[in-house]
């Protein structure tokens, strides 16, 4: 019956012309959702600690590699805390970047050695270089849990008041550093809200 009305179109009353656009509109809506989905990173869980003071902790140093790391050490200046381990492969990927930060004296970087064998950690630092000012050895991973660590490597940006300003999950790439971390550090130093 609809064919009859199509073969004899009545220009005065077209039957629901929007219905013909419906598939296109639906496809566009679904496409928009999928497109946004491409950019999402569901593996990256937003930290619950942004804007909060760093958890209270006091970790010992690695043997014969003082000093250790405690909450009070993160007061007074903008700093980075890098969660790393010798068993963590992607930590090696980001490691040269932290060596660079140290060489250029951009920002103090502290290490949180997560669930690692102290000897293995020391050997790792010997081999790839030691960019850290202080290293806290979190052998049981309890401090890591307090920081909401769930995948090593992770990197926290701490403001001068000892509050967690940003968290980066996974290895820091060069573009992460240039586009995200360095501008955020600059913003913090000027007393502005960092975007990250």
């Amino acid at each position: 019956m609809s064919e009859v009305s199509q073969r004899e179109p009545d220009p005065a009353a077209p039957r629901r012309p929007w219905l013909r656009l419906l598939p296109l509109l639906l496809a566009m809506a679904i496409g928009a959702f999928l497109f946004v989905g491409l950019g999402l990173k569901p593996k990256e869980i937003p930290s619950a600690l942004i804007g909060k003071a760093v958890p209270a902790f006091d970790l010992p140093a690695l043997p014969e590699r003082p000093p250790g790391l405690k909450s009070a050490d993160l007061q007074g200046q903008v700093s980075l805390v890098n969660v790393f381990a010798s068993w963590c492969l992607s930590c090696r990927v980001e490691h040269p970047l932290f060596m660079n930060l140290k060489a250029l004296d951009v920002v103090p970087v502290h290490g949180l050695n997560y669930k690692d064998e102290p000897q293995a950690a020391l050997a790792w630092l010997d081999r790839y270089g030691d960019p850290y000012q202080r290293i806290g050895a979190d052998r049981k991973g309890r401090v890591g849990i307090d920081w909401g660590v769930y995948g090593v490597p992770e990197t926290f940006l701490i403001n001068a008041q000892g509050r967690i300003a940003c968290k980066h999950i996974g290895p820091v790439s060069d573009s992460d550093l240039q586009d995200k971390l360095l501008p955020a550090i600059e913003a913090l130093r000027q007393g502005k809200e960092p975007k990250c």
Partner: protein
């Protein structure tokens, strides 16, 4: 010889369960252990993401199971133990997210889609009922068309 092999067999058979206990030691009090296990089932493993920490083999899941047991043994209520984890990892660790500002859509969306489906179904049925009326007002066939139709119906054409 036979006795030695039997002992060896027994040791081999016993080993896995002994190992499991060493890895994940239940609380001595069964009531507390049951509460801890119930909480484990509500918490999402952060590494594998779609498993609860009860089901996950990940290292972190084991650490979190242990932590929940500790909190329960220390006298925490269920809510306090769950809150302890949420403080550190956010609402994301809850397999059942709480109803609040950001999650309202999550809870309402199924109802909205159901309402939309009902609405569309009703509209569609109404449209179908309205169609005979449309057909009645359609232009009647003219004489030529009537003749062709009659031929077709009689099977004369071709």
């Amino acid at each position: 010889m036979l006795r030695a092999s039997l002992v060896a067999l027994a040791l081999i058979l016993l080993a896995p369960s002994a190992w499991a206990v060493a890895v994940d030691k239940p609380l001595a009090d069964p009531a507390l252990e049951a509460r801890a296990r119930a909480i484990h089932k509500q918490l999402r493993c952060l590494v594998c993401q779609n498993q609860s920490i009860e089901d996950s083999n990940a290292d972190l899941a084991r650490d979190l199971r242990l932590l929940v047991r500790e909190r329960i043994a220390a006298g925490d209520s269920d809510a306090a133990a769950i809150g302890y984890i949420v403080e550190r990892y956010g609402d994301w660790v809850l397999l059942k997210p709480p109803v609040k500002g950001g999650t309202v859509m999550l809870w309402l969306a199924p109802l909205l889609f159901l309402a939309l489906a009902v609405l569309l179904t009703v509209l569609w049925y109404r449209g179908r009922q309205a169609q005979p009326a449309t057909a009645a007002t359609a232009t009647p066939l003219d004489d030529d068309e009537q003749a062709r139709l009659r031929k077709l119906l009689d099977g004369d054409e071709r």
